[in-house]
Every structure is written in C-alpha cells, then in structure tokens.
C-alpha cells in the first residue's frame, strides 16, 4: 500500500501545491484507507487528473466537491481492501503449545504468577458474586421494573438538614389510591406485628407484616395454598410462609386453622412459598391490614392516629405502575399530594413523597426505617476498589516478572522473528501465555472462592441471611471474562516489549538488549504495589488500635461482670427479687436502655426560659451504684413506690453547662428545677460526664430519671467466678417467668464490642485485603529479586574474587530493593495518616491519637518480610563459590 513516487514528480507537486489549490487531503486519506493497494495509485491519479481539469473549468470549490463525491463513488465492492487482521496471522494451536511448554519449564515464574493470580482472582470472584447478588434482588417477581416504593423526605426538627425514610404514611397510600392516575395496583404494608402465637396449649413467638388485600397484585410471590385475591381481604387473616407453617403446625395442614394472639383469634387463609433469599423484604407471615382498627385507641409513643399524614414511621406503600405510565408523571403526582397535605403542617412535619424503583432498594442510601437489610453503595465501591487493586497487583507481578526474565526469552523471540514471525504474532503469543496462566489460576481461584464464600457470609449474620452468592451461568461467564481480562492486562506490556525486540541485535548479543530501559516502569510498578500494601496494613493496624480503644474506653462508669437481661415485655418485680437471692449475684438494677450502646431516647426540657433536647434514660435506685457512676454533688435516688410520679432527675455536667446552672459549681445545681411538658423535675444529683451514646457522638446534656420499674432491662452484677453456673441459674429463673421467649442476656462488655461491630467488620475486611496485598507484592518482589540477581551472578563472582566483603555485597545487591520499599513507605504512610486523621477519626468525637507504633508497625512487618526475602536470595548468591559461575561460560 505504499505509494511509489518518483522523486521528480514528487518535487513538482510540492512546488505546485504552493500556487494551486489541492484536493482535500482527508478525502485522499479516506481513499487510501478503503482502497485495495493495487488499484489505489491508478485511482488516485485519475482523480487528480480530473481535479485539475475541473479546477480550470469549474473553479476550486466545485473541483473539490467533485473530488470528494468521486472518492465516495469509488467505494464499491471491487475497490474495497480486504480486512487486514486475518485470523491466518494468529496461530492459536501453536500459541497454546509453546505457552504450555514455557509455563511448565519456568516453574518459579509460573508458580509465583499462578499463586498470586489465583488468590487475587478468588477475591475478584467473591466481589463479583456479591455484586451479582445485589443486582439479582427481587428478580423472581413479575413486573419488577414497574414496581415503585413511595418514600418520605422530611426535615427533622424543622432544620435545614434533610432525612429520608423508606416508610411513609398510611394516609399517603390512601391518597395515592384515590388521586393518582396510571396505577395498576398498589399495596400498603405495616411493620411490627409481633406476638406469641397460641395454638392449643403451646405458645410460639412470631413476627409478621401487615399487608392489605392487593399485596399479591403488586408482589407476585407464589401461594402454595389459598387464593391470592382474597387471602388478605378479611380482618384477622394470616398468610404464613411454609417455614412458619411448619414451625407453628408441624405437619398438619394449617389452612383454616385458628391462631390466637393475646385475646384475638386469627385464621390462616393462605400458605406462601418461602421467600427467595434475594428479596428486599422478609417476613414470617402476613397479617391482613384490615385487622387494624384504625378508629381504635391511639398508638403508643405519641405517634397519633393510624391515618395521620404525619404518622409515617411504620407504613410502606408499593405501587405497580401501568405499562404506559411515565415514572416522572407519578413523581409529579406525589409532589402535588405532598404540597397539598403539607399546607396545614408545622415545618418539622412537612413530608415530601418520593418514588423509589424496586431494583434500587437493596442499595442503601442512608435511609431510615428500611423494611429489610440494605447494603451501602459506598461499601460496594470500596469492595470493588479493593478487589481491583489486588487484581492489578497480581497483574503487575506478571508484567514485572515477564520483563525481568527477558534474558532468557529474548533470544527465543529473536529466532521467531528471523524465521518470519510478524510483530502481531509475537504479541499474540505473549498474550496467549498470560491468558493461559490466568485461566489456570481461575481454576484454583474458584476453589478458594468456594472456601472464602462461607467465611465472607459468616462475617455478619445479616449477610448470611440475605446473600446466597450462589453460582449462576451468567456469573460463571462473568468469572471467565474476568480471568481473560486479567490475563490481557497482565500480558499487554510484556507482549509489547517483546514484540519490539530487534532480532539481529538479540541474536548477536543478548546482553546488549536494553532491558534496563524498562527498569523505571518496573520500579514504578513495585512501588505502587508496596504503597497499596502499606496503606492497607497500616490502616488495619491503626483501625485495630482505635477499635480496641473504643471497646476499652473509660465510659465514666463500670461495665465489667454486668449481665443485661432484656425483659421482652415481662414484669420484672418477681424476677429481680429472685435474682437478688442468688448467691453469685451481687446487685440488681433496672433501666429502660443500656447506656453507650447506641440506642437513645430523649425529650425537650426547659430551665427557666431556655429549652434543649436532653438525652434520657430511666433507671431505678440501684442503677447508679451498680455501675459506679461518679457523683460530683448530691446523692442517688431514694427508692419510691412504683406508681409515684417522676419528680427527680440526676444530670451530667454537660447539662449544667448547657443551661448554665451553678456556674461551674455542681453543688449549686442541687435543687434546681427542670420542666418537661409542664411537669417539674428536681435535680438531686450531678454526675461526672459519661458516655450515653457511642463514641462517635459527643457527650450531650443527659439526665437520668427515677422510675421504679422502667421495664426495658434488668442489669445484674455477677461474681466473675463460675459464670456458666450463674448463667444457668438466671436462665432457670427466666424460664419460670417467661416460658415462651428464650432468655436474651448479654454481658455489658460484649454488648459494647457488638456496638462497634460495624467497625470491626470493616477492619476484618481491610485486614484480609491487607494480608493478600502483602502476600502478592512479596511474591512479586521475590521473583524480581531472583531474576535481577541472576543477571548479576558474574558481577558478584568477580567482586568476590577481587576480595569484596560478603556483608558489603549483600548491602550492594539489596539496597536497590530496599530503596523502592522506602519510596513506597514515604508515599503510603503520610497518606494513611492524613486519611485517618481527617476522614475516619473525624467521625468519632472521642478517639485516641494516632501513635508512632500505629504508623510504623505495618512498615516493620512488610519491610521485615521483604528484607528476609532479599537477604536470603542475596546471601545465596554471595555465598556460592565464585569460581563455579566464572568458569561456566
């Protein structure tokens, strides 16, 4: 396709070009792009001739236009060039054969790469399965693309901040049904049906969701028994899942059977096939929504009436749009309803309805009141990012080691080229090699994946309940694609490198090859690997330090050997008396909440003209001594009658500061009076500040109010000796009190650990990735050291013969690698430090400062491993008999 130009003609055209217009160059280029080489010259010449002719008769513009049109007109089947990349250039069978030979011959190289790639691929597979699961939620439902959930957005406390709830009001559901066009069907759900199912003599606790009669129109969950349109129509109807049916009735057919909750009897009207694991909604049974008497007594907790516009905490509305309905029109209709309803509401009760597509639900976006577990999209990105880094790290290993062993392979490539291999074929061979290695790794990776899957699901009970990570054909295909892509990325640079080799030069003198030209690239890759490894491991160490400090934090009270028993709605009077009689129990107290675990309650309180939101807990007289709170002034509550009015409060320093009581002298605050909804509470004691919430929350003004029977928990201080026996004793007492519900008792210290489980789970994941990253980059470094030293054996021998010290030689050989590590550390450590200081710890109001140990432990570990590897290899070379290597030529 090269144009042959005679020099004379060439110079002539060049001269002419200056004076006369020329045909448009792009058209000429296009012609030479599509035209067959043997026709090109002739065609181009003809077009030029015509162009010149037209230039004289028709002017430059028309001549150009005709030229362009002619170029296009010549685009005919017989002028078209055949595709250049014919498969004839790729010799797949040959690639596979030579690649397998190369792989089996270089055991070290293949071993390092297959180990690294398998490990990293297995993580890749895991993340891929996780992502695939996330996108497979609710896929069994019909019409899943047309189902929307109505969610609520509001400004809590009337402030500027916006919060969103997955729930909405019952009224919103009714209004949508009446006023919004384009809806095929819709259903209203209500959360929190809890109770003990009474069947005959036995009692079994079950939970459920209220759903109205059109539930099955929206959600096509298949019924095993019962009729979908009527199953939830009548009040007090139950639809059980198969598992629940077996749990309640055993093998008896439950249809039409009666179940009693408290005093109300319900009838089983349907059996639902068990819900798929990948469902955003989970329940044991459905209760007909019509069972709720909306006109009945007000809801507990001051939520108002069931049908209030502002009662939007427990109801869920799902809508199935008609096929031709535009979601935007639906959103607009919701907006209109919101505006109309909000007109008469206070600022903190203005609610905007929004539509959320069903498939978006599993990706949590910080919404409150979710109906089922959701998975943070940020976590998803982080996981993908981490897996990507690990995979890249393995690819870097391959790239580095392939180029590093060029001493051995370049001659092979040289001979190939002399025999007639084209550049593209050399590239093909090297890519084939890397893809074969990555496919082999996929096999191993798959086995590791099967092992890892169980571990991953065990990290968090929520994960195991909602993810299956099961294999589908689509996922299998994805695995294959991932492996091939990894192979391509890994093999790309080596392929380009080897394909550029000059055959003559290599065959004449292999050592003349400029492998060292690529040294900067390889060094950069090593530095990148080690930077990530160091970031991961340092983050793990720092995180672990912080986590430990959270768990052991001095909260302002004691938590050791305290057993907290959740009362689950039982009266605690007898239980407490019986507990106190146990010899191992030192003290018993009662409280509504357990402090410092993250659950909070509060109330608006005022002092004189000032008012503020106060964190509250309700406790009995034993609570403060049992937990050894520090009194700054005043005294503990005195026990009172059960039904005595709440008149006393014990507060923390922060509250005094907030209301400016006592001007720094706690004693002066005693006797001051706070008001809550018109009722007075006298301050009888002041406590040293303690942590009411978790450590990410600053200490707020806090009060403890005396209540003889708060009803939430019983706190038992037990003797540390023979704890199992104590537990058994407590359990026996509990069984007597409540035969239905199992005992829910945990040690305070364990609960505190549990409160930071999010943190510890993240740590486990990052730690796992850190271990992998360190392993993979160490393997890579190991290979690099071996191949690099291989080139220097002679040099070392000569130095030895000339009298170099062993120690000096080891230093000489290893300083390059250690320098790389140093560079990586110089990048990684400050980055991690900044990230922790400004991002992670900024979220925690109370945390430990980052110490030098935190910062350098990771470096010591990584550096230690690297130094050991480098040291062993260099020592091996230095110790070998120099005569041997010098003689062998």
């Amino acid at each position: 396709m090269k144009r042959i130009k005679t020099p004379i003609a060439n110079s002539k055209t060049r001269i002419e070009k200056k004076k006369t217009p020329t045909p448009p160059q792009w058209a000429t280029r296009f012609l030479s792009f599509y035209c067959r080489p043997e026709l090109l010259e002739d065609l181009e010449g003809d077009l030029n001739e015509f162009f010149h002719r037209n230039l004289q008769t028709k002017g430059a513009f028309l001549a150009r236009l005709i030229y362009i049109l002619d170029v296009l007109k010549f685009l005919r089947p017989y002028t078209l060039r055949k595709p250049r990349l014919s498969t004839g250039n790729f010799m797949f069978a040959s690639y596979v054969k030579t690649s397998t030979r190369v792989i089996t011959r270089n055991k070290l190289f293949s071993g390092i790469n297959i180990i690294g790639m398998s490990v990293s691929l297995s993580v890749g597979l895991l993340v891929m399965a996780y992502v695939s699961d996330l996108y497979s939620f609710d896929t069994t439902l019909d019409n899943k693309d047309r189902i929307y959930r109505v969610i609520s957005s509001f400004h809590p406390g009337g402030g500027p901040a916006k919060a969103r709830l997955a729930s909405t009001s019952w009224k919103a559901g009714t209004l949508i049904q009446q006023q919004v066009p384009g809806i095929e069907s819709m259903t209203i759900l209500r959360n929190w049906f809890r109770g003990d199912a009474q069947i005959g003599e036995g009692k079994i606790p079950v939970t459920g969701i209220y759903a109205d009669k059109s539930f099955f129109d929206v959600f096509s969950f298949p019924l095993v028994k019962g009729a979908a349109p009527t199953a939830l129509k009548e009040p007090r109807s139950l639809v059980l899942t198969q598992t629940t049916a077996t749990k309640l009735f055993g093998n008896i057919d439950p249809m039409g059977k009666v179940v009693k909750f408290d005093t109300v009897t319900y009838t089983v009207t349907g059996i639902l096939q068990d819900l798929p694991t990948l469902s955003h909604i989970h329940f044991e049974m459905l209760v007909s929504l019509s069972s709720i008497n909306v006109a009945g007594p007000q809801l507990p907790g001051g939520d108002g009436n069931y049908l209030d516009w502002t009662n939007f905490f427990s109801n869920y509305v799902y809508v199935l749009l008609k096929k031709n309905t535009d979601p935007a029109a639906f959103t607009a209709a919701l907006e209109r309803i919101s505006v109309r309803e909000n007109a008469s509401q206070k600022p903190d009760r203005k609610i905007t309805l929004l539509a959320q597509p069903l498939k978006k639900i599993p990706f949590g976006t910080g919404m409150g009141n979710e109906i089922g577990p959701v998975f943070s999209i940020i976590m998803l990105y982080v996981l993908c990012g981490l897996a990507g880094i690990i995979l890249l790290s393995a690819c870097f290993n391959y790239t580095n080691l392939s180029i590093a062993r060029s001493l051995r392979r370049s001659r092979e490539v040289g001979i190939r080229k002399v025999i007639g291999a084209q550049r593209i074929q050399v590239i093909g061979q090297f890519i084939a090699e890397s893809v074969i290695i990555s496919l082999a790794s996929l096999g191993v990776a798959f086995l590791i994946f099967l092992l890892l899957r169980g571990q991953f699901l065990a990290i968090n009970p929520d994960l195991a309940k909602t993810f299956s990570l099961s294999l589908t054909p689509r996922l299998g295909f994805g695995f294959l694609v991932l492996a091939i892509v990894v192979g391509l990325i890994a093999g790309l640079l080596p392929a380009l490198f080897y394909s550029k080799i000059n055959a003559v030069q290599v065959l004449k003198d292999a050592s003349a090859l400029k492998v060292f030209r690529h040294l900067t690239l390889r060094k950069a890759l090593v530095v990148v690997q080690y930077t990530f490894s160091l970031i991961f491991i340092t983050a793990t160490v720092m995180g672990y330090h912080q986590y430990k400090s959270f768990v052991r934090f001095d909260l302002g009270f004691r938590t050791d050997n305290i057993l907290n028993v959740r009362m689950q709605g039982n009266r605690d009077e007898v239980f407490v008396k019986e507990l106190a009689a146990l010899p191992a129990v030192k003290k018993v107290s009662r409280s509504l909440l357990i402090n410092s675990l993250g659950s909070i309650t509060g109330s608006q309180m005022s002092y004189r003209s000032d008012s503020a939101e106060i964190d509250l807990n309700y406790v009995d007289a034993n609570y403060l001594p049992l937990h050894q709170y520090t009194f700054l002034a005043g005294h503990n509550f005195l026990p009172k009658q059960k039904d005595a009015p709440q008149t006393e409060i014990i507060v923390n320093e922060q509250l005094l500061r907030r209301f400016n009581i006592g001007h720094g002298e706690p004693a002066k605050a005693i006797g001051e009076v706070l008001t809550r909804s018109g009722k007075n509470l006298t301050i009888v004691g002041v406590l040293k500040d303690f942590h009411y919430g978790t450590l990410d929350r600053p200490i707020n003004p806090t009060g403890l109010v005396y209540t003889a029977e708060p009803g939430g928990y019983v706190n038992i201080k037990v003797s540390p000796i023979n704890v199992p026996a104590t537990m058994t004793a407590v359990e026996t007492l509990w069984k007597r009190l409540d035969p239905v519900h199992p005992l829910d008792a945990h040690f305070y210290d364990d609960q505190i650990e549990e409160a930071y489980s999010q943190f510890s789970v993240t740590l486990k994941v990052i730690g796992f990735f850190a271990a992998l990253a360190v392993c993979i980059s160490s393997l890579g470094l190991f290979g690099m050291v071996i191949y690099t030293l291989e080139k220097r054996v002679k040099e070392v021998s000569i130095r030895r013969v000339l009298g170099a010290e062993k120690g000096g030689l080891v230093y000489l050989l290893s300083k390059g690698f250690l320098l790389l590590l140093g560079v990586a550390a110089a990048i990684a450590l400050p980055l991690t430090w900044l990230f922790f200081q400004n991002v992670v710890l900024a979220n925690f109001a109370y945390h430990q400062p980052i110490t030098f140990t935190d910062l350098f432990t990771g470096l010591f570990i990584v550096g230690g491993i690297a130094a050991a590897m480098i040291g062993i290899q260099t020592l091996k070379i230095v110790r070998a008999n120099p005569v041997k290597s010098l003689r062998a030529e």
Partner: protein, 110 residues
C-alpha cells in the same frame, strides 16, 4: 458463458482501448468514449468495467509514466489480450451476420 459474453458498454470500452492503441488509460478512455458515444461517461463506471474486463482476461494492464496533473501517480495502460480481440471479433461477427439477414426493403419500411 460469462467469460466471452460482452455487455454493450463493455464492448464500447474494449473498442475504445483498441482505437487508442498505446494511450489507453482510464481518463483517455473516458474522454474518447464521451466524444464518440455522445453521452457523459462516468469515470467510476469506466473503472469498474476495466476492472471487470481485466478479470475476464480480455485486457491486460501495466503501469506507465507519471504526470504532474496526476499528482505524481502513474497511469495504468490497458491493451487487448488475444481473448479480448477474439471476443470483439466475435461480437462484430454476430452483428454482421444479423445485418446481412435484414432485407433492404424491410429496413426502408421502418
């Protein structure tokens, strides 16, 4: 019998090549045809036909001189092959035979 059959335009092009003798290259053929056939002859069509004739083995081509107006590109000169001559003669023969069959009277009547 695709090999020897000549289309009308193919025949014209073949004849033109024969008349132009040593100067038969695409543009010249195009010009000559335009004069004699009294119709605009498109370069693209001529090229396609030349290509087809060469495929059929009726003409052969070789590259010749380059000129400035051709942008330094060489011309491709076409000459008839033996087969080309034969097929031209055959075409003429068919016509002649048919002509001879027409009685003068009949022709005058038309």
């Amino acid at each position: 019998m695709k090999g020897t059959h000549l289309g009308e335009f193919e025949e014209l092009v073949l004849l033109t090549i024969a008349t132009l003798v040593s100067n038969a290259y695409s543009v010249a053929i195009c010009d000559e045809l335009s004069i004699h056939a009294d119709r605009t002859v498109k370069l693209g069509v001529v090229h396609a036909v030349l290509n087809r004739l060469e495929e059929k083995g009726l003409v052969k081509s070789e590259l010749g001189e380059a000129t400035a107006t051709r942008g330094g590109k060489r011309k491709r000169f076409y000459t008839l092959t033996g087969a080309g001559k034969a097929s031209l003669l055959r075409a003429k023969e068919i016509r002649d035979q048919l002509w001879q069959k027409i009685p003068n009277l009949t022709l005058n009547r038309i």
